[in-house]
């Protein structure tokens, strides 16, 4: 039987990099096909070849049994292949009907028939997904999941045969991811063929009929996720045993660095007693609204707690602003890497030395030599993959950007590191390196507080884990003797787990900022 989509032996070279090295992808009709691989494995190049954005150096591309020679994006679309990107490409001020139909408006005479559009939009949402959006809602009133549904519906208007989802779940919380997976299953049952690209192997496992694993521009395996564990898939992706994926620090906790007594702020959290020691990695987790995020922000002076007290190295600590925190040797690596942690246009060197320019200055002028030495040292030490210290950070992969964000604080030798979702959106290989780095920070005598919703990650890298629930610390666990189920039970309160919950907690509620460059 001919497959719905068949990419065969594709090669693509960019300068010195062989991005695709004979990769093949075969998607059968009516199936969901997962595509996984580390960053740099060739996923995005492969998708761009499929979309007609890049032209492959060699290889063939057949859609629905038709072979296409170096197709344009329009030809690919005409064959029924449509793409759902990570960003929701919908103007915020548009109504649901307008967002759905702009570019192919329903008209009456020369004018747009708004009522017909809204009616038709409501009908389509009902027919495809059994959904009803609030009447008169604008795109800006919808949450990310609803926008995603709208984006999918927009693609469905073109009667696609194959839908390609490119990291669709990145900015969704757990509940929304479940809904997305439900919708994709529904599309499959309606006969569509689907390519699903994601970093989250649990989603892949829950959704896909087949998975193609890419590594170094080749398809190293096609597996059935029903019979292959996520650990096996991960091992195929990185070609090393993932048993050492979580390099736990060997550091032995020393005297306390930070101590909180009955800390409280508004309704966000209250009565927090916490202690983190030298050489300790302390995990912190909780569901959306548990207050964990707010607590972390308070520790960096981003919001000021009203009750209780903080002590740093035994001295009372009052943080009114992040500048106070930095002065006291506290470092924060925030979650929104691009907007808060690195300056994308500045070079690696400038980013690394940004937080500690004082130590690179002589007579008020910057000492380029010292800056270069320090950044080269950190680039080597952290194995940051960059063409050099002068490369703009935006050219680096997500994992390497994260390393730069960490390096920035390393050059200051902080005593307390606050890491907010340090591994979100980066590939497994880079994750392991970040974990190693965290372990090293602890071994060098710093205290590390990691906020994460990835429970296996927390269990793997922490000494202790604190779970927050409704603004309180609901439990403290020794990472060596706990498991994801236990933590999840504690985080959801009552110890009961909602059905279908996995080891991935929706700790953050964020939305992709409209990408308008």
């Amino acid at each position: 039987m001919t497959p719905a989509l068949h990419l065969k032996n594709l090669y693509k070279r960019f300068g010195a990099t062989q991005a695709l090295d004979g990769v093949s992808l075969r998607v059968e009709y009516g199936t969901v096909h997962g595509l996984v691989g580390e960053n740099g494995a060739g996923k995005s190049t492969l998708i761009k070849v499929l979309a007609g954005i890049y032209r492959a150096d060699a290889g063939s591309l057949s859609i629905d049994g038709h072979r296409l020679q170096a197709p344009t994006p329009r030809q690919v679309e005409a064959r029924g292949v449509h793409f759902i990107h990570q960003e929701r490409l919908l103007p915020a001020s548009f109504s649901v009907g307008e967002a759905l139909f702009f570019g192919h408006e329903i008209r009456r005479g020369p004018f747009v028939d708004r009522r017909a559009q809204e009616r038709e939009a409501a009908r389509l949402l009902r027919d495809y997904f059994d959904l009803q959006f609030p009447a008169g809602a604008l795109v800006r009133d919808l949450d990310s999941a609803q926008r995603q549904v709208l984006q999918i519906t927009r693609a469905l208007l073109a009667k696609p045969k194959i839908l390609v989802f490119d990291e669709p779940s990145v900015s969704l919380v757990k509940r929304e991811v479940d809904q997305l997976l439900g919708i994709i299953r529904r599309l499959r049952s309606q006969g569509l063929s689907i390519v699903y690209i994601s970093h989250y192997l649990q989603e892949i496992e829950a959704l896909c009929d087949q998975v193609t694993v890419l590594r170094n521009g080749r398809d190293v395996a096609v597996v059935d996720p029903a019979s292959t564990s996520t650990a096996q898939i991960a091992r195929l992706m990185v070609n090393r045993d993932v048993g050492d994926m979580y390099p736990r620090t060997r550091a032995v906790p020393g005297e306390p660095v930070l101590q909180l007594n009955q800390l409280g702020a508004g309704h966000a959290y209250d009565g927090i007693d916490l202690r983190v020691h030298r050489g300790e990695v302390l995990g912190l987790t909780g569901l959306v609204g548990s207050g964990a995020k707010e607590l972390l922000k308070s520790l960096f002076g981003l919001n000021v707690p009203e009750r209780g007290e903080m002590h740093l190295h035994g001295q009372p600590l009052r943080l009114k602003s992040p500048a106070d925190a930095v002065r006291h040797g506290i470092a924060l690596v925030p979650e929104e890497r691009r907007s808060h942690a690195v300056a994308p246009l500045l070079s690696v060197l400038e980013n690394i030395t940004l937080a500690s320019l004082g130590s690179f200055s002589r007579w008020g002028l910057l000492d380029r030599g010292a800056q270069a030495r320090e950044s080269r040292r950190l680039i080597d030490e952290l194995a940051i993959k960059t063409t050099g210290p002068d490369a703009p950070v935006q050219e680096l992969s997500g994992g390497n950007q994260q390393k730069v964000a960490l390096a920035k604080w390393l050059s200051r030798h902080s005593s307390l590191y606050l890491l907010d979702e340090p591994s979100v959106g980066i590939d497994i290989g880079a994750k392991v390196e970040i974990y190693r780095l965290i372990a090293r920070l602890a071994e060098s005598g710093a205290a590390v507080l990691v906020l994460s919703s990835d429970l296996p990650e927390l269990i793997g890298i922490s000494h202790r884990i604190l779970v927050m629930h409704r603004g309180r610390i609901a439990g403290e666990f020794d990472a060596r003797s706990t498991n994801s189920e236990q933590l999840l039970g504690c985080a959801t309160g009552s110890g009961e787990r909602p059905s279908g919950a996995t080891a991935h907690l929706p700790i953050t509620q964020k939305e992709t900022a409209d990408v308008q460059s």
């Binding site: 329009r74 990107h85 960003e87 490409l89 919908l90 103007p91 915020a92 001020s93 548009f94 307008e98 702009f102 570019g103 408006e105 008209r107 020369p110 004018f111 747009v112 997904f129 059994d130 959904l131 009803q132 959006f133 609030p134 809602a137 604008l138 800006r140 009133d141 919808l142 949450d143 999941a145 609803q146 549904v149 509940r175 479940d178 809904q179 439900g182 919708i183 529904r186 939305e511 900022a513 409209d514 990408v515 308008q516």
Partner: protein
Amino acid sequence: MSSLETLARPATEPANNLLPRLAQRGSLLVFGLILLVFAMTAPNFLSAGNIANVFAQSAILGILAFGLTCVVIGGGNHVVSGGLDLSLAANLGLCAAVYSSLNNQGCEAWQALSLTLACGVLVGAFNGLAVLLLGLPPLLATLASMNLVAGLELVLTQNSVLPTESALLASLAFGYWLGVPALAWVLLAVAALLTLLIQHSAFGLRLYAVGEYPEAARAAGLGLRRYVFSSYLIAGACAAVAALCSAAFFSGSTTGSGEMLLSVVAITFLGVVFSRRLTANIPGTLLATLLLGFLINGFQLLNISSFWVNGVQGVLILLVVAFSAAVAKQEGHA
């Protein structure tokens, strides 16, 4: 699929919508209040003659602001990096000068008229090319063309007033239809035409998409340049039409048309506040034009110095810009 039904819940949190709603209601309320205060204090404020007068006097500013509205829609309503046409007022000055000199040299009425329109559209095309081909931010591109156009006007007029008279200007200036002055009809006609084009045609909807989210428009297969370019052409045409109204109002070309720029920008961004979607739009711009018109008129009737109007305008611009910045921030964090 009952699990999906939770998706259908209203996602809006009340706090999220408070600011826009407050602004919209608030600005309408302020509009009403101003009318009320003037109605009670200023003599003849509510007389049909006065109201018609305000419409007529607002025609020039209003039509220019319609042009700017189109550009802001197509370029996005970010105050600094979005769409902007600073050359509109200067373009009006040039067009009025062109019409006056052509008319004085004895050109046929239709020749003078069409060459004036062509002049306005040409300046618009120049702006469009500067923005699209050179990739300049509209703020800078049109700042440059504003100076260029103002210079051309000086060359043409030697910085003097060119008085002129024609049947067209006379009927614009003194004509009445159904008891309403001709200039008011021009304002309403341009408003109606552009409302149909911008708010109700596919072109308009796509122009919004292009301005607000270029990536989305590109993904929808829309040719961005075509839409942005047309918005500058429309602005240029608006400048030419406004120039005719101005020539009618002042019986010829005048100097110092550039001073209208600030009012035009104020009106356009004030118009944003009148819409539920918080986007630049033609009816909102019309409302804002009239608000400013009534304000000036009321001040005149009460014998308050017109210098105060400048102050009020400045405050309005500050408020509106601060407001849109606040909304943009909210959207970014939402």
